[in-house]
């Protein structure tokens, strides 16, 4: 399974990547999460402008057999929602690319650095 080195990870199976501006971060679910959920049919998030705390639920991912909550890796404000998610299966096919979920304007960039490294996350899922 693929866990890119340039991303940080959470125990809730999200990934986050701080962009070059240093305050905007892209959030999605990990390759492991999409594979555990199976065929994803619908993604729903809170609207742009919503402020979320760290670990707060900001949406849901619905697969054929289950629904999982999405947890914010760090505190911030939702500044963009991926409109391509109308075709939710892209989360399965490209969890780190086209299948990103939201962009957050993060409160503290340092909080991102404090999250799990790819090695820590691999250890967490027993890989």
């Amino acid at each position: 399974m693929n866990f890119p080195d340039n991303l940080r990870y959470t125990k809730d199976h999200e990934w986050i990547q701080l962009l070059e501006d240093g305050v905007t971060a892209v959030v999605g679910i990990t390759d492991f999460a999409q594979s555990e959920l199976g065929d994803i049919v619908f993604v729903e998030t809170k609207p742009v402008g919503t402020k979320v705390g760290a670990h707060a639920v900001f949406g849901t991912v619905e697969a054929v057999k289950t629904v999982a909550d999405l947890y914010a890796p760090v505190a911030g404000e939702i500044v963009a929602v991926n409109e391509a998610l109308d075709a939710a299966e892209i989360v399965n096919s490209s969890p780190y690319g086209e299948g990103w979920i939201v962009k957050l304007k993060v409160e503290s960039p340092d909080a991102v650095a404090a999250l799990l490294s790819p090695a820590d996350y691999r250890a967490l899922i027993g890989e």
């Binding site: 619908f42 729903e44 619905e62 697969a63 054929v64 289950t66 629904v67 909550d69």
Partner: protein
């Protein structure tokens, strides 16, 4: 009631089949301290003829529409049910009150529910109908919860006169989820005042609810009410009687986001108040927030048509406390009776039932209004039900007509209002209507 065999030999066979030696071994997991260690405190045993006589005597003390002329309405109506409804719905392949738990094994049941959903969608002019809910009142309450959930707002406004029992169910459901109680606009001439509604609906309103026809049988100004709801971004919830839709505009055509109704009138007997059938329909964009079960159509691996329960992932057995609602059942048998009734009558038949009911109700209303001492309480349009102001207390009229095998209607005094609520269905004959008018005249 069929005779169910249950001999010692049968019980031994059942125990053997499941691999336990005795009844005691079967219940070994039940802790000693909670076991009842004496015989049940029951009446002495009776023989079968005695039991039958007792039950017959008890049932004869009921008064029902089978041998009474009924003008009772207020949410449950005496429409005609063709014998074919019972014949088809009581077939052993269909006859269970249970929602299927291994649903896809029961293709026939799922298909019947699918057809029910499709017909109700057409009747209400809506995109999606669920497999049914407990009754009209709980469907209405679930609609309000759904609106609170979708909009993230807390205030629910009632426009016009809801059935008072429906109103109470709504209050009970909302108590736990809303910070503020229901808001009700002013009622004038038996309908909600649109002017007074304007000041009640604002950016905190989750939903505006209207019942059409309303509790008094009167027609609310639904288009204007819907416009006010939309203006403030509130959802528009309509509780509509399905038979009335044979004549009246479908809620989907005047902007309802959610439309609900009491489905008893679709081929289900009044049965002293239940079991009934809650109709629940939404527009497509709300499909993932709909409570309850939904049957969909798909193809199996060989490409043949098949039916499945769909969008189940938001239900209680998967989402637990985060489920969209706590309903994970439906009124399959009542919905089956409804779909058989609708199939037998068809579009034209339902229109005819509505038109005949309305025509007879208007005939009766005119005759009663012409009687000395009697008048119609409200002046505007109504469907098959109306309120009469009477020269003697409505309770006296109800009591006086009961021995004549007539249910005169609903006395509104227990609701803190004057008048007798009279409903007329297509079943009433000219003779019955004229007899009722005469009986009222003699009481004046």
């Amino acid at each position: 009631m069929p005779f169910i065999v249950n001999t010692d030999a049968d019980r031994a066979e059942m125990l053997r089949k499941i691999g336990v030696g005795s009844f005691e071994e079967l219940v070994v997991d039940i802790p000693e301290e909670i076991r009842l260690k004496r015989a049940l405190d029951l009446f002495p045993a009776m023989g079968e003829p005695e039991v039958q006589r007792l039950l017959e005597q008890l049932s004869m003390s009921n008064s029902s529409t089978a041998d009474h002329v009924s003008f009772l309405g207020g949410g449950a109506y005496d429409h005609f049910i063709p014998a074919a409804v019972k014949t088809i719905s009581s077939r052993s392949e269909f006859y269970t009150a249970y929602t299927p738990y291994q649903a896809e094994v029961s293709q026939g049941t799922l298909q019947a529910i699918y057809e029910y959903q499709s017909m109700v969608c057409r009747l209400y002019g809506m995109d999606v109908t669920n497999a049914s809910m407990y009754d009209g009142a709980t469907a209405l309450a679930e609609a309000a919860l759904m609106a609170v959930n979708i909009t993230g707002r807390n205030s629910v406004v009632v426009a016009g006169k809801l059935n008072p029992y429906g109103y109470q169910v709504l209050e009970t459901y909302l108590e736990a989820s809303c910070e503020r109680p229901l808001v009700q606009n002013v009622i004038e001439d038996g309908i909600g005042s649109v002017e007074s509604l304007k000041s009640l609906v604002n950016s905190e309103t989750a939903a505006v609810i209207v019942q059409q026809p309303n509790f008094y049988g009167r027609l609310e100004e639904v288009e204007e009410i819907g416009r006010i709801a939309r203006e403030h971004g509130a959802l528009f919830i309509v509780s509509a009687d399905p038979v009335s839709l044979g004549m009246l505009e479908a809620p989907g055509n005047y902007g309802a986001d959610i439309a609900v109704g009491e489905g008893q009138v679709l081929g289900n007997a009044q049965s002293f108040g239940g079991p009934y059938l809650g109709i629940f329909t939404v527009k497509q964009q709300h499909v993932r927030k709909i409570p309850g079960r939904l049957v969909g159509m798909t193809k199996d691996k060989d490409g043949a048509d098949g039916f499945i329960l769909t969008l189940q992932t938001r239900e209680q057995h998967i989402r637990r406390e985060k489920a969209t609602s706590n309903i994970c059942s439906n009124q399959a048998l009542c919905a089956l009776q409804a779909v058989v009734w609708m199939s037998l009558l068809g579009k034209e038949g339902i229109r005819e039932v509505a038109q005949r009911s309305a025509a007879k109700a208007h005939y009766l209303a005119e005759k009663i209004a012409a009687l000395p001492g009697y008048s119609l309480k409200f002046s505007g349009p109504f469907f098959r039900e109306f309120v009469v102001e009477t020269p003697v207390a409505p309770s006296k009229i109800v009591d006086a007509l009961l021995p004549k095998k007539v249910f005169a209607g609903i006395d509104l005094a227990p609701f803190g209002e004057s008048g007798l609520l009279v409903a007329v269905t297509e079943k009433r004959t000219r003779e019955e209507l004229d007899m009722f008018v005469q009986a009222l005249a003699s009481l004046a």
